[in-house]
């Protein structure tokens, strides 16, 4: 086995405890904290005991805790996330997740790309213009972006580009009736695969505002990080030797950017987790039918099993992402091997 493959296998194994810890944590929060979830669902204590029993059985709450713990985990790994217990009750949650997750993934990827493009652009500019007014302004930008409340920015953008200029749609993933035949669930990809240009146009237009909202808020951290890394790289010896050899400044800046980029990759995993949190607010603001709005909708119905499944699903995604980040890092930096 090559050293890279070995590294990846070891990292993959190391992710398992993280996922288990997160699963356990969510389990503890949802099952052991005070408060009976079923009574919380019903909002009343006056219900017939047999109905209560039935709901408990549906939610898998009738068995001892340790059996619940393992059977839930086991079922989860097989893709069985349980059923909804409030209206519409009895629906497998996996059907919802299969529907909603692609929407979240599509928006997350686009928002992520926007944040990287803005973050790297502004970060590199700030580093090259270090100490000038531009650098100061970009520093303020990075702080402002970080503290901006997503629904506020989203609504302002909706108003300007959707209501006032009427350029872009402000809600949903696609115009009604245009959804492409589902292959991956990612509308942009599906419309490309099925050569459905009307769907492609509509889905791309729908993605623009939420992606920009999410991207701007997340870009601030990259601006800072890349700027500081790049300032450091620009003052290192090899850069000075490039200057002395008469290499053009543009090219030197490019080399510096490439070197400053590596630590940013490690940060991306953590940033992606923040992005998933921001997704809930972005989806809510733009009525985006993803996992975030799913959680919010089920909260309204107090559908305990759905919320549990969605949150544990997120725990798995977080583990998976940190694995992907490790892999990308290892590919980019040959020194990282076991």
């Amino acid at each position: 086995m090559g050293s890279l493959a070995r590294y990846l296998v070891i990292r993959a194994l190391a992710i398992i405890p993280t996922i288990l810890i997160l699963y356990t944590l969510v389990f503890i929060i949802l099952r052991i904290l005070p408060g009976d979830p079923i009574l919380a669902v019903l909002g009343t204590k006056n219900i017939p005991p047999d109905q209560l029993e039935n709901l408990r059985r549906m939610a898998g709450l009738d068995k001892p805790l340790y059996i619940q713990y393992f059977s839930y985990l086991f079922n989860f790994l097989r893709g069985d996330f349980g059923v909804t217990i409030t209206f519409p009750s009895g629906v497998p949650i996996s059907t919802y997740i299969a529907q909603r997750f692609p929407a979240t993934l599509e928006l997350a990827i686009c928002g992520f790309i926007v944040s990287i493009v803005i973050g790297l652009g502004t970060g590199a500019l700030a580093a090259v213009k270090k100490g000038t007014k531009i650098d100061g302004a970009l520093k303020l930008y990075s702080i402002l972006a970080y503290v901006t409340f997503i629904p506020l920015l989203g609504m302002v953008l909706q108003y300007i580009f959707g209501v006032y200029l009427k350029w872009l749609p402000i809600a949903q993933r696609i115009d009604p009736g245009l959804a492409p035949r589902s292959i991956t669930g990612l509308y942009v990809l599906d419309s490309l695969l099925t050569a459905n240009w009307a769907a492609l146009r509509s889905s791309v237009l729908h993605l623009i505002l939420p992606s920009i909202t999410l991207g701007i808020v997340l870009s601030g951290a990259y601006t800072r990080l890349l700027r500081n890394n790049m300032v450091e790289v620009l003052s290192s010896d090899f850069i000075r030797s490039y200057y002395s050899r008469g290499i053009r400044e543009r090219k030197i800046n490019w080399y510096a950017l490439k070197n400053a980029f590596l630590p940013v990759v490690t940060y991306m995993g953590l940033q992606f987790a923040i992005l998933l949190g921001g997704m809930v607010l972005t989806e809510s603001t733009f009525s985006w039918p993803g996992m975030g709005t799913f959680i919010v909708e089920r909260l309204d119905y107090r559908d305990y099993t759905s919320i549990q499944a969605a949150i544990i699903f997120f725990a798995f995604i977080v583990g998976l992402i940190s694995l992907i980040v490790d892999a990308v890092y290892a590919l980019l930096d040959p020194r990282i091997r076991y």
Binding site: P151, L281, I311
Partner: protein, 289 residues
């Protein structure tokens, strides 16, 4: 006499240590002004708010004017009064959450960093896992079980931010442990508990202050997020996140002021804490160089 001496010297020490973290400059001044303004607003809310924030009136959907500086909402409540009173909940929730996070995270971090061993490894792993999880989603999970109330929001935020304090404290303790003055104390026979209390904890203060302000900025956004999703207050309590949500449907039809001002306040308050945190962080890293 002895007691007085001890007290004053402790206070002096505290002042001296925190002073190294208090910077000067525009960033810090702007930040601290924003924070103080919001705190004053919360304290004197009954005196300065022009109307009863919860009273519905027939003056619905009035744009900002001289009688309603920020306009009125769909049930005729005065937005300015709601914005003023809304500062109370968010400040109270975020401050109490932060105090709980600190009270749990800092001792655990010192213990982990100073004692090490298996407990440290286990704790670190658990804390890192929580840290990696999206904080808003974790807070939603906790708040959804506990039910919507400001107290429960504070509890969920507290859990979410414990790892932040733990990780910072543990890292700092690891490097402080190797310092000469700790070595000296140990060689003179000082106990572990004594060293942790007298030598490690006071030296953490400047960093704690920075982490406090930065995580408070983050917690403000998370709190607003929770109440935006309906997991904190119930109407008619004035609350920025909730009010923003309540006016959202009206925003795109032109009644922008209902949501805009509460949203602006959320961002402004978070900005205040972030600016102070940034300025202090810079000062400390310069001081340590």
């Amino acid at each position: 006499m002895k007691g007085l001496e001890l007290g004053s010297s402790l206070f002096g020490k505290l002042l001296k240590r925190t002073r190294t973290a208090i910077p000067t400059g525009a960033m810090f001044n702007v930040g601290i002004t924003i924070i103080l303004a919001v705190v004053l607003m919360a304290v004197f809310a009954p005196l300065i708010s022009p109307y009863d924030p919860t009273r519905a009136t027939p003056d619905i959907l009035k744009p900002p004017s001289s009688s309603h500086l920020m306009g009125t909402n769909q049930i005729g409540q005065d937005i300015l009064s709601r914005v003023i009173y809304g500062s109370r909940i968010i400040l109270m929730v975020v401050l109490s959450a932060t105090i709980i996070s600190m009270a749990v995270g800092i001792p655990l971090g010192i213990y982990s960093g100073f004692i090490g061993g298996r407990a440290d490894r286990t704790l670190s792993m658990v804390m890192d896992s929580i840290y990696a999880f999206p904080s808003l989603i974790l807070a939603i999970a906790i708040a959804s079980v506990l039910g919507p109330s400001p107290l429960n929001t504070a509890i969920s935020l507290a859990v979410v931010y414990i790892p932040t304090y733990y990780r910072m404290t543990r890292g700092q303790t690891l490097s402080l442990r190797e310092q000469l003055f700790v070595e000296a104390a140990r060689s003179m026979g000082a106990g572990k508990l004594y060293i942790m209390r007298k030598h490690i904890l006071p030296n953490l203060l400047p960093t704690v202050l920075v982490v406090f302000t930065l995580s408070a900025a983050d917690a403000i956004i998370t709190e607003a997020g929770l109440s935006y999703l309906g997991l904190s207050v119930t109407p008619p309590t004035p609350d920025w996140g909730y009010d923003l949500r309540a006016g959202q449907g009206y925003f795109t039809t032109g009644y922008w002021w209902i949501s805009f001002f509460p949203g602006l306040m959320i961002t402004l308050l978070a900005l205040g804490f972030a600016l102070v945190g940034e300025a202090m962080g810079e000062k400390i890293s310069i001081a340590s160089k």
